[in-house]
């Protein structure tokens, strides 16, 4: 690997931009493909399509194109989880999400909830959820979970989450709470198709009762959505 390619790859990673390295396994020739940028010379249409598919699936692998044995390695930005509501369940959820490799952000404009002591080592922002979410610019490697139970906080966040490419959008609440939420979002002009993306009641149905169990059911559902998208 040439120094210049390594440097560009590291720059992409530090800027959290998806990138892939294509290697000709016979000759050692190598190309860096950055998403959103023009493909380098030497990377044809077919290879570029394979790179895009590999980045989408987050899966490295060998491919044979035009009689050449190529290897595509994917360097996707880290997974992120954005939690709305620095509530009781958020505490174990932050731990479970980190265990699964997520970089975690908590949003709660209520200072008493967002107190640093409750969430040591977590970035807690006290902006309003819609502003805070917009600033975090959720992408396809992002899961968003609304936990406040408060429509003033959850609804604007969900409206933004549903317009983003986030691979998972979940909201805490019973079936009844969720039905009311669906109605409110509909009134705000969110389409049925978008509303259907919300996982609510949130989490896999494993009979979770304690905050830790609920956190585990949420993270399990997030992983399922990531690894086995419908």
């Amino acid at each position: 690997m040439k120094r210049e390619l390594l440097d560009r790859l590291l720059r992409a990673r530090r800027a959290k931009r998806p990138a892939a390295v294509v290697t000709d396994l016979e000759t050692g020739e190598q190309w860096l493909v950055e998403s959103g940028e023009r493909a380098p010379g030497g990377v044809g249409e077919e290879t570029l399509a394979a790179v895009r598919a590999a980045l989408r699936a987050d899966r490295a692998g060998p491919v044979e194109i035009g009689g050449r044995a190529l290897f595509i390695n994917v360097y996707n930005p880290p997974l992120r989880m954005i939690v709305i509501g620095a509530v009781h369940i958020a505490q174990p959820l932050v731990g479970a999400a980190r265990l699964a490799g997520f970089e975690v952000f908590v949003i709660d404009p209520r200072h008493a909830f967002a107190a640093d002591a409750r969430f040591p080592d977590v970035r807690v922002t006290t902006q309003w959820p819609d502003e805070a979410l917009a600033a975090l610019a959720p992408d396809a490697r992002c899961a968003i979970v609304a936990l406040t139970h408060d429509p003033k906080l959850d609804d604007p966040a969900l409206a933004i989450a549903l317009r983003s490419e986030a691979f998972y959008v979940g909201a805490l609440g019973s079936r009844k709470t969720h039905a009311k939420r669906v109605e409110r979002l509909r009134e705000q002009g969110v389409s049925d198709e978008q509303i259907a993306r919300i996982r609510g009641p949130v989490g896999l149905a494993i009979g979770a009762r304690t905050p830790a169990e609920i956190a585990i059911s949420i993270i399990a559902e997030v992983v399922q959505q990531l690894r086995q998208p419908a």
């Binding site: 120094r3 390594l6 530090r14 050692g28 692998g61 290897f71 390695n73």
Partner: protein, 109 residues
């Protein structure tokens, strides 16, 4: 080097070693057959002094890969290595049965 060495970042070690003027090689799992201990794309970086970071097999074949990497650091070029992980070795790293792994080794120029 404020952010060069990230504990999870194999590439960061490659960069740091090269910035110190030291030799480094990168080994990548490019194919697996059967049950392989580390997924395709996993990487191990090796310095000219034999230090290494990352993993391509969870320990079964690291020794051989590190030796090959040092040859590549000294002599340049690339190497493709194929290993069978025997059932016995697989057991050592917590797998029920073995598989085959292909590793691509390249020098960081």
């Amino acid at each position: 080097m404020a952010d060069a060495i990230d504990a999870d970042d194999v590439l960061g070690y490659a960069e740091a070693w090269r910035a110190q003027g030291r030799g480094a090689a990168l080994a990548t799992v490019v194919s697996t057959w059967g049950s392989a201990p580390r997924p395709v794309g996993s990487q191990l970086v090796v310095s000219d002094a034999g230090e290494f970071f990352g993993s391509v097999s969870g320990g079964c074949i690291e020794g051989a890969v590190i030796e090959a990497a040092q040859r590549v650091i000294a002599g340049g070029g690339i190497q493709r290595l194929r290993f069978g992980v025997t059932n016995e070795m697989a057991w050592e790293v917590g797998l029920a049965c073995g598989g085959d792994i292909e590793i691509f080794v390249e020098r960081i120029e």
